[in-house]
């Protein structure tokens, strides 16, 4: 049996309220105990408290269903905001959404496309083959035998979303770094509004399918007749998610090709298209046996200004040459200020970051296998930098400003 879900706004408030309370209590317990403990014990105990808080918050989030999961996914991407242990709990939410039963699937299709599935499709599998963050995805075939993926949004989720966001804001003060979380929630809210709009996603997917023609990268076709604000029908892409693909033990050649394709795609998107797919959730890439990659889910893309595209190479060059003045100048143009720019700050904060950014660019090819800690190193480095970053009035989030995803 499926879990019994809490009803309505007030029940939701209840969940968040009680979680906030529990987290608060733990914090108090933690503070009370602290003076009597050795430093080591204090540290261990803080970690313990963090663990329990993470668990509590995660439980509350998953009870909120769709929106919260999406927010959890997004927040867990914002590496600089949440400490490791919170992130780990939140990452569990990938690919985990309670399913819609056949009644809701039917209702969604009937409501959105005006007819039940058996009238629209030659075949329609009423059991989902994949979870989406706000719904799920079904196999179907069109009249001419074309295999498609039909993504269906949980009916009414867009209405629940606004309330959920309010409640998330209520929960935020109990997380570490509440200011940052709140700021980020705002942006997440805006992105969610975009993501809930499948018509927008359909248009974006079509745009990319038309413009992003890169060897080794596939983008699905959209079928507008079978798509609407809450339904998106796209060409079924083969391939597997990263972990499943890796489990097939692909050749080094295939791995290299996949990595190169993704890199080419990114550079081409930024430089030529000035527009990038910015939802690098592992679920959004399907890897094929030959190492080519299908890019799906264009719910979230970012348009870059001409100015940014112009500055970016200069910034990278400055990083390569470790030219502090040039780096800071470039950042200022992008609307970020770094004060105080002391020698200490440069040595401890900026330099490690510059080194980290430039590292893969210094060689003809870069072996991530030999730099296994490359990605994990980023977290601390970026966190330190972002703590010292002041955004000038027109705020550009760090991650965007750097111009490529560091996840």
């Amino acid at each position: 049996m499926e879990s019994v879900l809490p009803e309505g706004k007030w029940a939701r408030a209840g969940i968040v309220g009680s979680t906030a309370l529990k987290v608060g209590l733990r914090e108090v317990q933690h503070k009370v105990k602290r003076p009597f403990m050795s430093l080591e014990r204090q540290q261990a105990d803080k970690l313990d408290t963090d663990d329990k808080n993470a668990e509590l918050i995660f439980n509350a989030l998953t009870q909120l269903r769709g929106t919260a999961l999406k927010v959890a996914q997004m927040l867990s991407m914002e590496v600089e905001i949440l400490p490791e242990r919170y992130r780990k709990e939140l990452e569990k939410s990938f690919h985990q959404v309670p399913p819609l039963n056949r009644v809701l699937v039917r209702k969604a299709i009937q409501e959105q496309l005006g007819q039940p599935p058996e009238y629209l499709f030659t075949s329609f599998n009423d059991q989902a083959f994949a979870a989406a963050s706000l719904g799920q995805v079904h196999y179907a075939t069109l009249q001419d035998g074309i295999a498609v993926a039909v993504k269906i949004q949980y009916p009414g989720i867009h209405v629940a979303m606004k309330n959920d966001m309010k409640l998330m804001r209520k929960l935020a003060p109990n997380l570490p770094n509440p200011q940052m979380v709140l700021q980020s929630l705002e942006e997440v809210g805006a992105r969610l509004q975009e993501e809930v709009d499948y018509a927008h996603e359909a248009a974006t997917t079509q745009w990319f399918a038309e413009h992003l023609k890169i060897e080794g990268i596939h983008i699905p076709q959209v079928y507008p007749k079978f798509s609407a604000a809450r339904i998106l029908t796209t060409e079924l892409m083969g391939g597997q998610h990263l972990d499943a693909w890796l489990a097939t033990n692909p050749s080094q050649e295939a791995r290299n090709r996949a990595a190169q394709s993704l890199y080419d795609m990114m550079v081409y998107s930024v430089r030529e298209l000035k527009r990038l797919h910015v939802d690098p959730n592992p679920g959004n890439y399907l890897f094929h046996a030959d190492g080519s990659v299908s890019l799906i889910d264009f719910g979230c893309t970012k348009q870059f200004s001409a100015e940014f595209i112009h500055i970016l190479p200069q910034l990278l060059k400055a990083f390569l040459e470790e030219d502090v003045e040039a780096i800071l100048a470039a950042y200022r143009i992008l609307g970020m200020d770094h004060k105080p720019t002391t020698e200490h700050w440069y040595q401890e904060v900026l330099r490690p970051f510059a080194h980290w950014v430039a590292l893969p660019l210094q060689t003809e090819s870069f072996d991530f296998g030999q730099h296994q800690d490359y990605t994990s190193n980023a977290r601390e480095i970026i966190q330190r930098l972002s703590q010292n970053t002041k955004y000038l009035p027109k705020r550009i989030p760090l991650k965007r400003a750097i111009g490529f995803p560091i996840y």
Binding site: M1, E2, S3, V4, L5, P6, E7, G8, N101, R102, V103, L104, R106, K107, Q110, E111, P116, E118, D126, P155, G156, I157, H158, V159, A160
Partner: protein, 245 residues
């Protein structure tokens, strides 16, 4: 002969649809049989052959909705593969879907039948029969297939579900969320609870408890009961309860 029957049926539906239009715009009290006949393009006398009173039109449409619901469910080719929860949920969702174009009309039906129970309940009898027959079918099939355990108070269940469905309709009439999103959520979630109750045979235990409390406590406080029964709300609900029995 057969074509004649079909024609009759078509005329009947035409009159019902016209009645919905006229009553929705003019209100039940103000709408006249003459207007409805005109809207349906039938003679003033003909309409009385089909529906002798305005009330009969009102409840005739409710029956017509129920028939359409049944047809819709029959048209779902793999309905027999649905779980009992899905089948019952589909029944409620389809009912709403069929009512949607006549939602304001339904509002009037509710005001007239539940506002003055004396009038309403006998009139809705046929609609209720059609509805509960579907629930009986669904539950019997699930019990036969072993999906549900044998249910104590089995004959009571379809009536309880009828009350539940009316509660949902009432909620829906008051729901002003976009696309009635809140109703969808309430149905989805309450159906999970209903399925859980059915699966654990909890109905029997709940009713046993109620009857125990009733016998041991309520019955000894007859004065309280007497004073309560004078409250108008309770009279109404008692009537409903006896109606159900």
């Amino acid at each position: 002969m057969k074509i004649n029957e079909q024609d009759k049926q078509l005329t009947k539906v035409r009159i019902l649809v016209a009645a919905v239009d006229v009553i929705t715009i003019r209100g039940f009290k103000n709408a006249t049989m003459r207007e409805i006949a005109k809207e349906a393009k039938v003679g003033d006398a003909t309409i009385y052959n089909y529906f002798p009173t305005k009330e009969k039109l009102l409840y005739g449409y409710c029956e017509y909705v129920q028939q359409q619901v049944m047809q819709e469910l029959k048209d779902i080719s793999n309905f027999h593969e649905y779980s009992v929860q899905e089948q019952l949920q589909q029944l409620v969702e389809t009912t709403l879907q069929i009512w949607l174009p006549a939602r304001e009309f339904l509002q009037q039906v509710f005001e007239l039948s539940f506002g003055a129970p004396l009038v309403g309940f006998t009139h809705l009898e046929e609609t209720k029969r059609l509805f509960t027959a579907m629930v009986v079918d669904i539950l019997d099939a699930a019990i036969e297939a072993g999906e549900l355990p044998e249910q104590p108070y089995r004959e009571l269940l379809p009536r309880l579900f009828w009350d539940y469905a009316n509660g949902i309709l009432a909620y829906w009439l008051k729901d002003n969320s976009e696309g009635f999103a809140n109703t969808t959520q309430v149905i989805d979630r309450s159906m999970e609870i209903i399925a859980a109750i059915l699966q654990t045979g909890m109905v029997g235990k709940l009713l046993d408890l109620v009857s125990f409390l009733f016998r041991t406590h309520i019955m000894t406080h007859t004065e309280v009961l007497k004073s309560l029964s004078q409250a108008p709300d309770l009279v109404a609900s008692k009537r409903r309860f006896m109606e159900g029995k």
